[in-house]
Chain length 387, copies 2
């Protein structure tokens, strides 16, 4: 086991902590660029409360509105210009994963020379990651991506129909203000997709790791078991704050590096294939994962059964690897998620193109990293299993 | 669930990473105060390798030698003076928990006004924690305290026969260089005490927490299960590097705040009572914990049985709370640890004094914090259960 771990983000967690936003921002500067999505934060007075908190703390603000789901490069570039124009000292992301991811890249753009698309991972060795960024505060309104406490961002280039990601130390948020009350109005489908996303974050490192990481394995199982218990409660009754709390904390632990430390995960293959799927269809990331994750597992379990048997046994008290995978798929269905490509009207005629895009955008040109590595034929087989 | 979490320490983990010390130190300054214990790091060339790494990176150093087990306030004060004299930019702790704890306080002393004993927790409301410290690099040679990645330090005042602790954000090490190869020469008894220490770190928050923290519970269980599996291997064959790795990583996760986040643990009562025991007897901390921990559990389980039942079930596949505790005690014995006060020649005539010291030094004067809070009569009952 050999690794480095560093996550400097400070987390302020609990029902009602939104009111701390102003005080936390004031520690970082006098002018905040507040980044939001399509305006759902206006509902229920969340935005008013947030801006009021800034005003009370003497922090001026400029609002940048309109980050879309699967945030576009063009939007992010406009956000970077807005940060420069208003001379922002700090960028505050008030929204879901898209808003948080967009905000990270926005915060880096005032310091970034050249084409922002160059910072994305798909560039491989020619990628130039950002080295400096304005301090970032994340205030999630959705429990899903874990973006509030990590250094990653996923951005879509709609001209190229490509979705790729960047990860750099300067993108760690300074502070994550995590108030589960902000998630009680999230509708059941989005709640369910968030649960699928967080589960997939840990299964990716669990199944693509080096093995012999007993603490990380059990931490991953802790996240999955918590999602299995509290996810359905949050979906069926959005106002169940205790369930919202547990799902949100699970989503953070799933991708803040704790579960991944030392796991030696070789890539996130389900995510890479899903990024192609949602780049082409603009479907919700979590819905794509619910479809692809069980299919990838069935493929990979035939190659490396032991870890899938452990998962089946410890998470579902099931004897067989395939039983565990079946139970997970059933769980996704029980939350109301699609688990087959036919449900989202993706036909077999797209498989070749999706597989080619996967290895090109999300891999090294020939394969998508993972255990096992996936060539074009492998990905087509996985898509067939998801059909 | 309401909490703040922040741990900015960067961890560099793996067999052989000692060689990185120089490069890591050079990032923090040009002159290092290297703090060591009684000289065991001279054995096997560890110190030579460490100093060679500093020299290769152009970092000058001053050696401060002689930190004893249960490090004394007087030693720490001399260390602080040494840091000032040599104009250290960085303090490097090369040793076990005592050396790391001493180094943290040493790093704070150049900036601390007044009596250093005032920074200790036992002072209660009049405690003045340090606000600034030199950057600290920890290089553990023993897996036990988790001090390498947290902000705490335990110091003994031998004039007062008191052992107390300090915790402050400025005491987080900048970098922890964790090389499991440095632990292969640790003898079986010290290895065993380390295993007991790390287990007790998670059981303290597990059993004294608010409950309803499912992820934290399972993370605690992950640490204990890993210690149960790999601890005996590390004790019986010190050169089993894979076992050493797992035990060391478990010891870090046990007390870096991950398990504790949101648990709302009210104090570490077993530690508080043990500090009195080892302040009076100078016995190894882990040995004291092996004696006191099962006794405290038997006491507390009669008051709050549910959590102890969960522990028995999930960790030992046992039905009854008391069975789980019995199995843990057996495990401590199987590692060669004492589990009764009679084995370390502490008689019943000391109980009253130990109980009084516990509430005075480790509590609020009337009780030691915990669930349940412990008055003098309660502590005497626990000591009787440990007799």
């Amino acid at each position: 086991m050999k690794f480095e771990f560093h996550n400097p983000t400070r987390v302020v967690f609990g029902a009602g902590v939104l009111g701390r936003m102003g005080v936390e921002a004031a520690r970082l500067g006098g002018h905040a660029l507040v980044v939001i999505g399509g305006g759902s934060v206006r509902v229920g007075g969340v935005l008013d409360k947030a801006l009021g908190s800034l005003e009370a703390a003497g922090v001026a603000h400029t609002l940048f509105e309109g980050v879309e789901p699967n945030p576009r490069l063009t939007t992010v570039i406009r956000g970077g210009a807005a940060a420069v124009d208003c001379k922002a000292d700090v960028v505050i992301a008030l929204g879901g994963g898209s808003v948080m991811d967009a905000s990270k890249v926005i915060a880096s753009l005032p310091f970034y020379q050249g084409d922002p698309w160059d910072m994305m991972m798909h560039k491989g060795p020619s990628q130039r990651v950002p080295e400096t960024a304005l301090p970032i505060i994340t205030v999630p309104t959705l429990a899903a991506t874990g973006s509030e406490m990590n250094a990653g961002a996923v951005i879509t280039n709609s001209e190229l129909t490509e979705k790729s990601y960047v990860s750099a130390p300067c993108l760690y948020p300074a502070t994550a203000i995590v108030d589960p009350l902000l998630t009680v109005s999230v509708p059941p489908d989005q709640t369910a997709y968030g649960v699928v996303d967080l589960i997939t974050h840990v299964t990716e490192s669990y199944f693509n790791g080096v093995g012999a990481t007993p603490i990380q394995d059990r931490m991953a199982e802790a996240v999955v078991l918590t999602a299995l218990e509290y996810g359905p409660k949050a979906v069926s009754n959005g106002k169940d704050v205790k369930a919202r709390e547990q799902v949100q904390w699970a989503s953070i632990v799933a991708l803040n590096g704790w579960v991944q430390a030392g796991s030696g995960a070789l890539g996130f293959p389900v995510h890479q294939i899903e990024h192609v799927l949602s780049a082409h269809t603009d479907m919700a990331h979590g819905a794509g994962l619910a479809i692809l994750s069980p299919a990838w597992m069935r493929f990979a379990a035939t190659r490396r059964p032991e870890k899938f048997e452990q998962f089946a046994r410890r998470v579902f008290d099931a004897d067989e690897a395939m039983d565990g995978i079946g139970r997970l798929e059933e769980f996704f269905r029980s939350l109301g998620c699609p688990t087959r490509l036919t449900e989202v009207e993706v036909g077999r005629d797209s498989f070749q193109r999706f597989a080619e895009d996967s290895v090109r955008v999300g891999g090294d040109g020939a394969r998508v990293h993972g255990r096992p590595p996936l060539g074009i034929e492998d990905i087509i087989e996985i898509l067939r299993l998801a059909a």
